[in-house]
Structures are given as C-alpha cells and as structure tokens.
Amino acid sequence: MSVTRYFSSVFVIAELELRKIRHDQSQIWLRVVQPALWLTVFGVTFSAIRSIPTGDYTYLQFMTPGILAQSVIFVAVFYGVVVVWERDMGLLNKLLSTPTPQSAIVMGKALAAGVRGLFQAAAIVVLALIMRVDLILTPFSVLGVFLIILLCGMCFSSMSIALASVLRNRERMMGIGQAIMMPLFFASNAIYPLSIMPGWLRVIAVGNPLSYVVDATRSLLVTGNLSSLGIDMLVICLTTAILVSLASLGFRKILS
C-alpha cells in the first residue's frame, strides 16, 4: 500500500468521527462541562485561598493548561471503551475486511480522539478568556498548543486502545480507565507545581507523560519561556509513537 493511500485511510477513519460530531454536537458541549467546572469552581476557590505557590502567575493562569490537558485525557483514556463497543457492534470486523491496514485504523482512531480534544480545548480557551485569564495568544502559541493537544489525544487514546486489546470488555475498560485517570491527573503538574510534591511523588510525576504535555502548553500559553519546549515535545512525540505502535500490534487481539 502506498504511503498516500495509507495516510488517506488514516484521515478517512478520523473523518468518520468528525462526521459523527457534526451530526451531534451536544456530545462536545457536554464534555466541556466538567473542565469548565474545574476552572470556575476549583480554580476560583484555590485562587482565593492562595495556598499553591505559582510564582509570578495567578493560579487560574497556572491551571488553565492543566485543565486543557485534562479535558483531552478524559476523552482519550476511555477511548478503548468506544473501540470495544465498535467490536461488539461488528463495525471493526467490517473495517478490517477493507484493504485498510490495522495500524492505519488505530492511528485514525487516535487522531479522531485528538480532534475531539481540539474542540474541547478551543471551548476551554474561550471560557478562560471570558474569565479574564491572561494567556499568550500568538499564532505560534495557538498552533503549538493545537499540535500538543492533538498529540496528547493520540497518545492517551492509543494507550487505551492497547489496554483494550488486553482487557477486551467494556466493564474492565471502564474500571481501568477510572483507575488510571486519577494518578494520571493528580500525579502530574496539572494543578500544582512539582516543587510542592514529596520526593517519591515527584519521581512519578516526572515519568508521567501528562506532565510534559502540561509543561509544554504552559510554556506556550502562560510563561512564554520556551527553554524546555524541545525536550517536552520530544517526550510527547516519542511516547505517542511507542503507544500507537503498541496499540497497532495488539489490535487484532481485540477481535478474538
């Protein structure tokens, strides 16, 4: 299969997802509710308490990138449930009977999760602006954040798809999703800086890919200090590549 045909298959799989969103936009708005509440309830309260040291920036400025990332991983971590559901419905068997390679299906699905994340991220940025959170919005920072959000969605959704090929049913996927969600979010720099964590937790947070997503987003949107952006992007791209490959390799197992 030619490279063009391969990537056009990837985009077609993602297109399928976009078409679903177009027919029912309410699913996007509903997904925005929770992160919006994090900003308006948790964020506003903790800004008032001033208990978390965030340096020269307000707490809302500090946490907005974290909430952006969170809204994406909430969709992505449970993406395996969607794939198992599609297996149960017979959609996957039919997709695999076309010439589309399984890795293209996985990548397309992951891309779709990333695209869903983009819509939500855009909604949250708008909300943050309405709340008068001071963000750096240049074409470079906006494009950069879009790319990071897309990769973040791909990264965690392929992790979820890889898990689906091991666990293979919806109930277990819901369970593992919830089990992963909490440490993924709280053992990261999403809503507080690494510096206030005890040493052992900091080690975990440094190994958490989400920390790099948040750090990169934060440096683009809030601090403007791009010194660590390179290493962040490297870690994000590498993790995504590894997880997409793992998910592709195991994909056929979901069927049996």
Binding site: S9, L16, M89, K94, P99
Partner: protein, 331 residues
C-alpha cells in the same frame, strides 16, 4: 470455469478448540455457495480466514487466484463482506456510511458520487440516503450493509448469516438481491447459514460443516437424493410399533422419537396404503401417517447424526442479539 475460491487442508486451532479441522473445497466463479451447519461448526472462522481477518494454523487459501496468506490486502480489495453482526454506523447518514467505504477502498473522487448513487438505487435506499441510520429498520440496515460491501464492485462477496434477525419479507428481499447480483454481475457469493430453507432456495451448492469438518458438498437436489428417498412417519399408541415395522421388512431410520417411527422408502404415496393394511393385519392401530419428501434437514441428519434444530438455542441467541443491536442503533 475458473475457481473463485480454493481451500486446501485448512486448519485453525484455538487454545481450547479446533475450530476448523482440515477442510478442502473449491468454489467456481459465479456460484452461490452455502456453508451450512450448527453454531460452532466453524463456518464463521472459515469465512474470516478467507477474508484474511484471521490467520489459519495451516493450509492453503486462494481467493480469485490470489494467495490469501501472502497478499491479504489484494484479497480484501477484491472481496466484499457483510458480517453477522450489524455493522453500519447509526450516528451518521446512509450516504456517509457508504462514502467512508468508497474512500477506504481507494475509489477516486470523481467516480465516488456516481457509484454511491447507483448502489443506493440498486438496493432501493435512495429516498433514505440522507437520513440517520439509527432511524432505519433492520431490513434497511442489512441492505445498507450490502450497499457498503458492493460499492467497490467486488468479484467475490461473503455473507455471514445474511438474514438472521430479519422478518420474512426482509429476508426474501435479501435473497432476491443476492440472486440478482450473481445473475447480473457474475459475482461469486459465499454465504453461511444455519437456515436450511435459505440454503435450499438460494445456493447452487452447499457444504455441510460439523465440528470443524466438511461432512459433504453437493447441489441441494443431489444431497437430497443421497438421503435415499421419501420418509414416512408413522404415529401409533401401540408400544410394539417399531418392532412390527421392522418385522415387515421396512428400513427404519435413527432419530425416531416415542410413538413415532420414521422409515425410508421410494414413492411414499404408493407405499402408504399397503403399509396401513400390513399394520392393521398385525393388529397395530395407526394414529397418523405423514409423508415427507427429503429436505436438507434430513441430509443434515444423515451426515452429522443430529438435527440442526438441536443447535437452535444458539441461533435463537444470535437472532436476539441481532435484534438487540438493531434496537440499540435505533435508540
């Protein structure tokens, strides 16, 4: 005539079971071939191997002259598949469901629209093309699935239990479509079914599968001949009925249940009066006699030692599952 499918010594072993146990068969082009058997006989596994969805443990498979093990993508480009489960997407329109597949089959942009229009008209879905699929009936979803798998004009079509969960009208509509496809386009069609009526009215040849093996292959009419003629079922309250019938020199067949004896004969309608006289002479009162011309059910009984109905609970479960999926989609 060229062979569309050649299968040699195909084996698929799973950790717990041997799903396919050394089967060989060929299907010539333009044939409607039915794989028949109870659930768990290995029909779906065979189809999935032919479609390169699963790798066989051993054996050779070629589809339309292409070695399926070496060139799976080529086979998938040439074949169309309608799986047993409902495989349309309820959250997009009928048109979009087909559009996605034209793209996955690499159809150039300028022919897509025309082909989709053609296939929608062919399956009588043109009026509902822009409706969301979750408003479709079960029969319409099946037709849409057929449209999806026909839009790239496959030369070989695989249908896994095409009429499961459908009402009789929708079912005969699907049968007509399948025949029309073969007659108009020369498509080779492999269907699996547990429905003897479906196999009899639709297939040129059938293969009966049982526990991973092919028990027999042939034309439905030939297979019915191998059963050996008509079957007379005699029902009587007399406890010595089986003994008496045997004593009279008739050949009874296995599988008779209490109070009933099945026996094999040629020209059953001529035998009945004579048999009744013979039985009365022996003092056996007959409650009823029925004559049955052989059906594929009997063929199945002969070659597998069980009525296909004995696996019926499983098929009921499948039908229920299919209906549940229709409902879920239309929620």
């Amino acid at each position: 005539m060229a062979e569309a499918v050649v299968v040699e010594n195909l084996v698929k072993v799973y950790p717990a079971v041997t799903a396919v146990d050394g089967i060989s068969f060929t299907i010539p082009e333009r044939e409607i071939f039915g794989l028949l058997g109870p659930n768990g006989a290995g029909k779906t596994t065979t189809i999935r191997i032919l479609l390169t969805l699963i790798k066989p443990t051993s054996g050779k498979v070629s589809v339309l002259g292409v070695d399926a093990l070496s060139y799976p993508e080529k086979v998938r480009q040439l074949a169309g598949y309608v799986p047993q489960d409902v495989s349309v997407d309820g959250e997009i329109t009928g048109y979009e469901n087909i559009l996605i597949y034209t793209k996955l089959y690499g159809m150039p942009g300028d022919v897509r629209k025309k082909r989709i229009k053609e296939v929608l008209e062919y399956l009588g879905l043109q009026d509902r093309a822009d409706s969301m699929v979750n408003t479709f009936s079960g029969g319409m979803m099946r037709r849409l699935e057929l449209a999806q798998s026909l839009v790239h004009r496959p030369r070989m079509l695989f249908l896994d239990e095409p009429s499961i969960g459908l009402d009789p009208n929708a079912r005969s509509a699907i049968w007509d479509l399948v025949k029309k496809l073969r007659d108009e386009f020369g498509t080779t069609i492999l269907i699996t079914t547990h429905d003897m009526g479906e196999a009899d009215s639709l297939c040129d040849r059938i293969g009966i599968m049982d526990r991973g093996k092919l028990a027999i292959i042939g034309k439905p009419s030939e297979l019915k001949c191998t059963v050996g003629g008509d079957i007379l079922s005699i029902n009587s309250k007399a406890p010595n009925l089986p003994a008496v019938v045997k004593e009279l020199g008739y050949s009874t067949i296995a599988g008779s249940s209490n109070g009933t004896v099945d026996l094999l004969c040629t020209n059953g309608e001529v035998v009945i009066p004579r048999l009744l006289e013979d039985l009365r002479a022996k003092g056996v009162e007959t409650a009823s006699v029925s004559l049955k011309k052989p059906t594929l059910d009997d063929v199945f009984l002969k070659y597998t030692g069980a009525r296909i109905g004995e696996g019926e609970r499983g098929t009921f479960k499948q039908a229920r599952r299919a209906r549940r999926t229709f409902r879920r989609l239309t929620r």
